[in-house]
Amino acid sequence: MSYDKCVRCGSCLQFCPMFDATGEEQFSPRGKAYLLQVMDQIEDDEELAKEFRRLLFECSLCGRCEETCSSGVDLLRVWHEQRAKAIETHPEEFAYLEPLKDALANVKNIYGLAAEDRAIYWLDELEDEIPGLADRVYEKGKTTENIIFLGCLMSFRGSQIPVLRSLFQTLEKLEIDYLVMGAEENCCGHPLYLMGNEKGAQELREHNKKVITAAEAKRVISCCPGCLIQLREHHNLEGVEALHHTQFFDRLFEKTKKYDQKEKFSYHDPCELHRILEIKTEPRSLIRKMGIEFKEMDLSCCGGGGLLRMTDPNLSDKIIQLRVAREGVKDTTVITACPSCREQLLGQDLKTKDIVELLSETLDGGAD
């Protein structure tokens, strides 16, 4: 058990966004690892055990603790395993997650909306602006080099439309051979994975794998780091490269036109992108190729990961509010590259742009 390796040095405390927001040790990685180490002393106390199970879901699974730890504690894995155990042994305490599980089992998306609507909302919105977009939606028999995996957030949320518009416009402008998985796309399984429900996640993945294979795609491209974790690490795709959109576009350009910068930018690097997928250089490289000047934000979590928006929305809000206050980004546009981070930033009335929005604007009218 890797939590045994925790020497309780405390180095992870200062980096944990939960501890930062609450200031109490039980929210910290050390606190939780310690609880596991002394579990034999407390597990008979049902109230304590219950509180511990709740604490496991007060974590954004940002991975900062694991990155900091020099003692080889595989913290993310510990949190995943413990979450799975908590839900399995005490499902009644997690009844609030049932609608999500049901939605994923029945309609394969987190919103419980009809599966076939996955390519309806954004298509309605963008079809007129991007001629031929409807033909880009995958159907049986169609093949492509690049298949776009949008994920639930981008498929269903109106707030993501500007990113989608830029993504498709850029792909069109660059004459990329692509299809969007559309109604044939299942949720990637990430929410279930975050609950430790491997079996449920696997069912969703299997369908996706079939579609990607049938489309004969060489690449599957996603703007969502959570989806990409699933596609790259858990879908067992053979001969198909799973890429973040920033990786895909960065490879295409030696240099671009210069972005016509009129505002101040800061960059929020999504945790799942840089810490878990270790995609650190391409997003920055792409921004730099456009000649954009920006301020790096702290490499910390926005509070939107690990299902925290569902399990403790107040804590999730507090985390982003603290960061906004501390990092003075109100007068900047926050660049990011993750639909979930985007939602968190918009929730604080911050201006935000995905990197592909900047790219699209640059290709459209940037200075030489």
């Binding site: 045994d4 390796k5 020497v7 309780r8 040095c9 405390g10 180095s11 405390l13 200062q14 200031g23 109490e24 040790e25 039980q26 050390r30 606190g31 310690y34 609880l35 180490q37 002394v38 002393q41 407390i42 106390d45 109230e47 304590l48 509180e51 511990f52 604490l55 730890c69 020099s70 003692s71 080889g72």
Partner: protein, 445 residues
């Protein structure tokens, strides 16, 4: 019992299996007023009080033993209150870390010169309460040398200000009593939370001087040669800025290093003097940074199989025991092995400085130690090994210093703390000075 009452027991020492039922309240104050309220709650109910900082201490002192107690954490008292560049001080709350202080004052060209390896998590009040130090203690002193004054809250709610000259407070009678027995900042240093709750510290900060430094790595065939070299540096009073020693390290954690070795950084003009004492290879800044990083991480790394444990954190080798460093280490290792422990790594600060209970400074090598946690050994057996090491240290003339501080075995220190506690009360962390201390610690391993 709530989960926050359990988690407050999390600390880096091997004394972590607490009897949680006796924790009667956990507080995370933000202000002195909050501290007063927490202590008043303890007093009303007859509970003792244990202050806790980063919980990185290795003596078990921040656990409070097994008393019915209130735990007060400083983790939410981490504000910087004032910086005086001209007068060279910074006023801070007790829960701030050296790293955070330096992050704040570095742009002003200033530095706080106390650098334990745990400086990312150890709090200034915790470091003073253990009189910690780091890789530059040799030239910059221990925490007490860098603390101008502290403000403390006592069990009865009275407030004290203590500096190097004595005690000040409005209550003249108490002031007189404490000054009569000569209470100063030296007594707060290494007091392990047994006096009161530190709510504010005035710390020495100094301009960072730009000087040309040289990094070097010296390897030794065995530790006696290393010990003699350190002894010589101390004798000649060579002011090296950074000195870290690794005498042994398990193959799983030492990367490509070949202990015994000494990593040093010093002003370039000292090169020839240094060459007279050690044969070192120059390190460029990148190599030096890597060495420093390995050193900082060594105390946390685990073997591939098994888990490390800080059985006995610190040995202070000086004079004869330093000159015969290898013999001294061999003697300790033999004892460890006899007690079924496997030595894992030993590393530390050298040359370095520490204080003994009579407040006199000693110079030598502070060596930290880690062992591989033995399977199936009872806590009490492990604790018996600790006691045997204390005895061995006395025999070898090594200062037994679990994390540089062992108030329980230093009779002079212990006596002085008792004297002060007769005046101010005995309700802060009393287990440490009680006859049952060893039994209590043994039960928590």
């Amino acid at each position: 019992m709530k989960i926050r009452d359990v988690v407050i027991g999390a600390n880096a020492s091997m004394y972590y299996k607490l009897n949680f039922k006796n924790i009667k309240g956990v507080y995370y104050p933000k202000t002195e007023q909050d501290v007063l309220a927490a202590i008043a709650h303890a007093k009303q109910n007859g509970f003792t009080v244990t202050p806790k900082g980063g919980g990185s201490g290795l003596s078990g002192a921040c656990t409070g033993g097994n008393d019915q107690r209130v735990m007060i954490s400083t983790l939410q008292m981490k504000e910087i209150l004032t910086v005086s560049k001209d007068q060279g001080y910074i006023d801070v709350q007790p829960g701030i870390t050296p790293d955070k202080i330096n992050e704040f004052i570095a742009p002003m060209g200033l530095k706080f010169f106390v650098a334990p390896s745990s400086r990312d998590v150890a709090t200034v009040a915790g470091i003073l309460s253990t009189d910690g130090g780091g890789n530059d203690t040799w030239i910059n002193g221990t925490m007490r040398d860098n603390t101008i004054r502290v403000k403390m809250v006592l069990y009865d709610g009275r407030l004290l200000t203590v500096d190097s000259k004595g005690v000040r407070r409005n209550d003249l009678e108490l002031e007189e009593q404490l000054n009569k027995i000569g209470m100063t900042i030296h007594d707060v240093a290494s007091s392990h939370g047994t006096l009161g709750f530190i709510t504010e510290l005035r710390l020495l900060i100094r301009p960072t001087v730009k000087e040309a430094l040289m990094g070097g790595l010296a390897e030794f065939p065995e530790c006696n040669v290393l010990g003699q070299a350190l002894h010589e540096m101390i004798r000649k009073n060579i002011k090296i800025n950074y000195g870290e020693v690794i005498t042994e390290a398990h193959v799983d954690v030492r990367e490509d290093l070949r202990p015994p070795l000494h990593v040093v950084e010093f002003p370039v003009e000292l090169e020839s003097e240094m060459r007279e004492i050690i044969d070192f290879r120059r390190l460029d800044s990148k190599e030096l940074a890597r060495m420093k990083d390995v050193r900082v991480k060594l105390p946390k790394r685990n073997p591939k199989v098994g888990i490390q444990v800080a059985l006995f954190e610190g040995y202070g080798f000086y004079d004869e025991s330093l000159i015969k460093l290898q013999d001294s280490i061999d003697s300790v290792n033999t004892l460890l092995i006899e007690h079924g422990m496997t030595p894992f790594a030993k590393y530390g600060h050298g040359p370095s400085k520490w204080y003994t209970g009579d407040n006199s400074a000693t110079y030598g090598l502070i060596l930290h130690s880690r062992e591989i946690k033995p399977e199936g050994k009872r806590g009490q057996e492990m604790f018996d090994t600790v006691l045997a090491i204390v005895e061995k240290c006395n025999e070898l003339k090594v200062t037994p210093k679990p994390e540089h501080k062992w108030p329980f075995s230093d009779e002079v220190k212990r006596k002085k703390l008792e004297e002060i506690r007769t005046v101010i009360g005995r309700s802060f962390n009393p287990f440490l000075l009680s006859p049952e201390c060893n039994d209590i610690l043994g039960s928590m391993v």
